[in-house]
């Protein structure tokens, strides 16, 4: 693969990765958010596969396959099941309204760019120059995590953050060893499953999954 094609593909994948993360903040429809998360999983796998093709590393291909299976197939299925069992189809009352969260996302992206400049300066290459995007997605995920109320949106925020961390790892270090990736993936799967059970219990107890209810003591 020539360097120009590689750079072009890398930039396109990273751009789309960021675009999907922003769209997840913009949409309120939870089903659409889960769809976007699936697309982001595919993009992350494509990123790993692209880096694998660049470095000719079989290990990265395996990691890409694992990412694809977990983030584009298994997790969306789990999330869709949670969504089907719950009564809410929309993120109705985020703590920060959508317009303000768009502006916050703007600032977070610029912050990610400012913070990652020393990192990029260490070893400038097409991959490290895209690191701000990975960091920005981490920030956006964290923002979604703290500003949303519904259990499912918070899980999505958590997954968004994890996607950002994985993307940053791929871009900085050219991927992580399979054993580490496996550990992280299983951890992630377990967390999401536990959160699904928690959301289901919330649904049964309160009739909705607004996590603010957990702050008050009840008889």
């Amino acid at each position: 693969m020539s360097t120009t094609t590689y750079t072009l593909a890398l930039n396109l994948i990273c751009g789309a990765f960021l675009l999907v993360a922003v769209l997840m903040l913009l949409r309120r429809d939870l089903a659409a958010i889960v769809r976007l998360l699936t697309i982001q999983g595919v993009l992350l796998a494509a990123l790993a596969a692209l880096l694998g093709a660049r470095e000719g590393s079989l290990e990265l291909y395996a990691v890409a396959l694992g990412v694809l299976l977990l983030k584009a197939v298994v997790l969306p299925i789990v999330l869709r099941r949670t969504l089907r069992d719950s009564s809410e189809a929309r993120e109705t009352k985020p703590l920060v309204n959508v317009t303000a969260s768009m502006l916050a996302a703007t600032l977070l992206t610029l912050l990610a760019y400012a913070l990652s400049r020393p990192l990029v300066a260490l070893a400038p290459s097409p991959a490290t120059e895209a690191v701000p995007i990975g960091l920005a997605v981490v920030f956006l995920g964290f923002f979604a995590l703290v500003s949303r109320r519904r259990a499912l949106s918070q899980v999505v925020g958590f997954l968004l953050m994890d996607n950002g961390i994985s993307a940053t790892a791929f871009l900085v270090a050219g991927g992580v060893p399979v054993i580490v990736e496996l550990g992280v993936s299983l951890d992630l799967l377990l967390i999401v499953l536990v959160l699904q059970i928690l959301a289901a219990r919330l649904q049964v107890t309160f009739g909705h999954t607004d996590l603010d209810e957990l702050r008050e003591l009840r008889d």
Binding site: G15, L19, V98
Partner: protein, 320 residues
């Protein structure tokens, strides 16, 4: 470029572009209405209907409400003339034009804003409830939309190092692969959303209704009649055409004439017509499937497009 810039041919190209766009704009509006009508199962009035409307309105006397000032009389003229200046300077048919020096992104955006402000002032000048409401809504949308146009254009201009529209178009022609860069994609999304808002299309404004609770553009132009209304209608058709034309030529510039031979100019005119018609058809077909957004949700959409603009600009730095 300058050798022939001020020649007869150069001026001819500009005149041709103005005539072409002015003649085509109402036809584009007619075509979009016709497509919508057909998709909704109506027969439709035909593509030429906006021109017939304009002819009828132009032959009628302009009735002005009692108590309105010169602002009300002047606004349609300011709107139309500022729009005509943009039509003259933008690189629609040819990238070489004697007006090349003024085809600056910032100048074009400020001229667009000038027209919007003129119409908003006219809406306020009538002193009616709907005029004031329309003006306040129109200015709200414009205040959110114009920065996004600037940002999207700025993102495209960083890679050629110039905010001249013809230079941006030529830069894209030279390096076609940059169309597929994230900068272009993000800027295209941002600009497309803003064009919907600027031209008052769904989901921001419904162009085919006079429903008082939702209208934006129509509310400002509500008191106009006869000749004045014809001017306002023509200007809004022109704005739609020129924004679609800008979108087409900034992101898909192929087919634009880079020299001034008659054949190249004619071919470029045809290609431009096809591009704008295709964009208009897609827009009209898309509108059939869309509902109008609640007014208070519009800032959400525009803030989103602003964010895309910012991302496009920042991506032009970190994904150079």
């Amino acid at each position: 470029m300058n050798a022939y810039s001020f020649s007869v041919a150069g001026i001819g190209v500009v005149l041709l572009q103005i005539l072409f766009v002015v003649a085509g704009a109402p036809l584009l509006v007619g075509l979009m209405r016709q497509i919508r009508a057909r998709l909704e199962g109506r027969v439709g009035p035909g593509v030429g209907q906006p021109w017939r409307d304009l002819r009828k309105l132009l032959s009628k006397e302009a009735i002005r409400p009692h108590g309105t000032s010169w602002i009300f009389i002047g606004a349609p003229l300011v709107l139309l003339s500022s729009t005509l200046v943009i039509v003259a300077v933008c690189p629609f048919i040819s990238t070489v034009s004697p007006l090349d020096g003024v085809a600056d992104l910032f100048a074009v955006v400020s001229l667009l804003l000038l027209g919007t402000v003129a119409l908003a002032l006219a809406g306020l000048d009538t002193g009616t409830a709907f005029g004031g409401m329309g003006a306040s809504r129109g200015v709200t949308v414009a205040a959110l939309a114009e920065p996004t146009i600037l940002l999207a254009g700025f993102a495209l201009s960083t890679r050629v190092g110039s905010s001249n529209l013809a230079d941006i178009v030529e830069g894209t022609l030279r390096v076609p692969t940059q169309i597929f860069s994230p900068v272009s994609l993000l800027a295209a999304v941002a600009l497309a959303v803003v064009i919907l808002a600027e031209t008052g299309r769904l989901p921001v404004d419904n162009p085919s209704t006079h429903l008082e609770l939702t209208m934006i553009h129509e509310a400002m132009a509500l008191e106009y009649a006869g000749r004045d209304l014809a001017v306002v209608e023509l200007a809004s058709a022109l704005r739609l055409t020129l924004l679609l034309g800008l979108l087409a030529n900034l992101f898909v510039p192929w087919g634009i004439a880079t020299e001034a031979t008659p054949v190249a100019i004619l071919a470029a005119s045809a290609v431009f017509a096809i591009k704008v018609t295709a964009l208009g058809a897609v827009l009209a077909a898309g509108e059939v499937f869309m509902a109008k957004l609640r007014l208070f949700r519009v800032p959400e959409l525009l803030a989103g497009s602003f964010l895309f603009g910012v991302l496009a600009v920042s991506a032009s730095f970190f994904l150079a």
